[in-house]
Each structure stands twice: as C-alpha cells, then as structure tokens.
C-alpha cells in the first residue's frame, strides 16, 4: 500500500494539528517518536480527550496499524536469516514507504536487511523533527476558526481516505464500514465507531475474498 506522504510537509501538518488539539510540544514529539505511524496518529488526534482514553486509543491504533502485520509477514523470507537483535530493532522503523522500498530492493537482490533500518531511520528523524517544527508553527500562528484551520484534521483525513481507496474491491467493505460506524456513533461515546467500522470493513473484505 504505497502511500506517498509528502514527508516533511505531512509531519508539519501533524505538528500543527497536535498543537491545535492541545498537546504540549513534548507530548506531540513523543507521540511521533514512540508511534511513528502517521495515519494512526491522526486518528488518535481525532479521538483525543482530556484525560485521554488510553484503551480506546490503543485499540484504534492497533486496528489502523494492523496492516503492518502484513508487511512483516512479507519480508519474513529475507529477515529470517538475520539475528534477532538485527531484525527486531529494524522492524520498529518499518513504515508504508520504507517497507515498499525494502521489499523492492530485496526482490531485486539489491540491498540487504540493513536497507530497512537505513531508510527507516531517515524517515523516522524526518517525522519526529517535522512534528516538532509543526507544533512550534501551530503555536505561533494559533488556529483561528476564521482561517478554517479547525477543518485541517478533517481535510487531511478525507484526503487520506481518497489516497487509501483501492477501487471496486473497497465498495462493499466501505458500505459495511459506513453502516456500522453510523450505528455505533449514534449510541457509543468517544470514537468507537472508528474501530467498529474499520473491523466491519475488514471482515467484509476477508469474507468476499475469492481464492
């Protein structure tokens, strides 16, 4: 699933949004440093409360990041040859873009296991630094409603939705996601509809799969 994020710009946007939600600079930077997964961090901001609902947040993070299971499985044939202290730390830096690049390099017999670590570290530093810069910018500009900045998170989410759309295969899962999300949203608090809708879509996707 190649998601071509505008690297630094995406991190800046995340930092601005985190400032707008009310996270401190340290909290925003720490979130990027500990999680390092943009889409799930945006979902977390969308769900953010004070104090944060840790269990709901962790569950939503697990659902959004479950695609990593697939990535890890895909590079297993190559990474199994590494020692555990080489493979497991490298996996921390596996993201959509670096995974795709690594897999391509390994398939073409270019590069080795260290490729993921190298590309991942660069992306990681870029992500953490741009988050910090974005947060500082957000604090400086403020987020007045007249500028429409309160819409930025929703705008980013809808753009991400279009970017992740795979075409006809997504129609039936999306219909299930909408129905389940709508029903869940009407009675459950917080942001459980994100988890419920996402899981419903995945189940329909698996159910409709033809071998």
């Amino acid at each position: 699933m190649p998601i071509a994020f505008g690297g630094f710009g995406y991190g800046i946007a995340f930092g601005v949004l985190a400032a707008d939600i009310g996270l401190s600079w340290l909290e925003a930077v720490l979130m990027s440093a500990l999680i390092f997964a943009g889409a799930s961090q945006l979902v977390a901001l969308q769900m953010w409360t004070n104090p944060p609902a840790a269990i709901a947040l962790a569950l939503a993070t697990a659902v959004v990041n479950a695609r990593h299971l697939l990535y890890g499985a895909a590079i297993h044939p190559w990474f199994r040859r590494l020692r555990w202290f080489q493979s497991y730390p490298s996996l921390f830096f596996m993201a959509d873009g670096t995974w795709a690049l690594t897999l391509e390099a390994l398939r073409n017999n270019r590069g080795n296991g260290a490729f993921l670590l190298g590309a991942g570290l660069l992306t990681y530093i870029e992500w953490v630094v741009s988050t910090g810069v974005g947060h500082a910018l957000g604090k400086a500009v403020g987020a007045p409603q007249a500028l429409g900045l309160d819409f930025m998170l929703a705008a980013f989410m809808s753009a991400l939705m279009v970017a992740l759309w795979r075409g006809r295969a997504d129609v039936a899962p999306a219909a299930a996601a909408i129905i389940v999300a709508y029903i869940t949203h009407s009675f459950a608090g917080a942001q459980w509809h994100i988890i419920a809708g996402g899981v419903a879509g995945a189940l329909v996707g698996a159910w409709r799969h033809v071998d």
């Binding site: 720490l30 889409a39 795979r166 809708g197 698996a206």
Partner: protein, 105 residues
C-alpha cells in the same frame, strides 16, 4: 514543556501496540502461514478505518465543510497530493465562512 502522566501512559500504550503490529507479522510467520483470506481482510483495513472515521463528520457537515470536502476530493483526484488537498479543503472552508458572514461582500 510539560507532559501529563495520563498522556504519557496513553502514548506508551499506543507505541507498544504499534511495535507489536510491526514485529508481530514477522514473528507469526515463524509458526503459521498467512492465508489469502486473512491477507485480504488486512488489506481492507486502511480504507475501511478512514471511511468509518469520516462517516459522522460528513453526515454532520455544514455548507462550509461541504465545500471543503469537495475541494479535497477535486485536488486528490487531479493533483493526487494529500498535503495540497488538505490545504485546498481548509481554504475552501475559510472562503465559504467569509462569504457567509459577509466579510468579503
């Protein structure tokens, strides 16, 4: 420069869960094979999550937000850049709000 303990706990939980997704697929492959059906389900998750997240937002959108979402969609379908699309959406909302409040007329 501050960090709330409840925030730190939430961030740590999210960080651990994320690492488990990164390491878990690789680890599991040492024991079992991923069936095509499970793979198809996992592949469906990203778009489904975003659709679920957007559902109440779109249903509760006012005129300004409707213009914003339309701008995002148009830029995504033409320029295919999520950063530019989000900026276009924000601009669309700001412009519509200004027009509706009469500050531009």
């Amino acid at each position: 420069m501050s960090i709330d303990p409840t925030v730190l706990a939430a961030l740590a939980a999210m960080g651990i869960v994320t690492y488990l997704t990164r390491a878990g697929g690789f680890w599991l492959m040492g024991f079992i094979a991923l069936t095509p059906r499970i793979e198809a389900g996992l592949r469906t998750i990203p778009s489904s999550v975003m659709v679920a997240l957007m559902t109440p937002l779109v249903l509760n959108a006012g005129p300004a937000e409707a213009v914003g979402y339309t701008a995002v969609l148009i830029v995504m379908l033409t320029a295919k850049s999520d950063v530019f699309a989000a900026m276009a959406g924000v601009a669309g909302v700001a412009l519509t709000r200004a027009l509706m409040s009469g500050t531009l007329s």
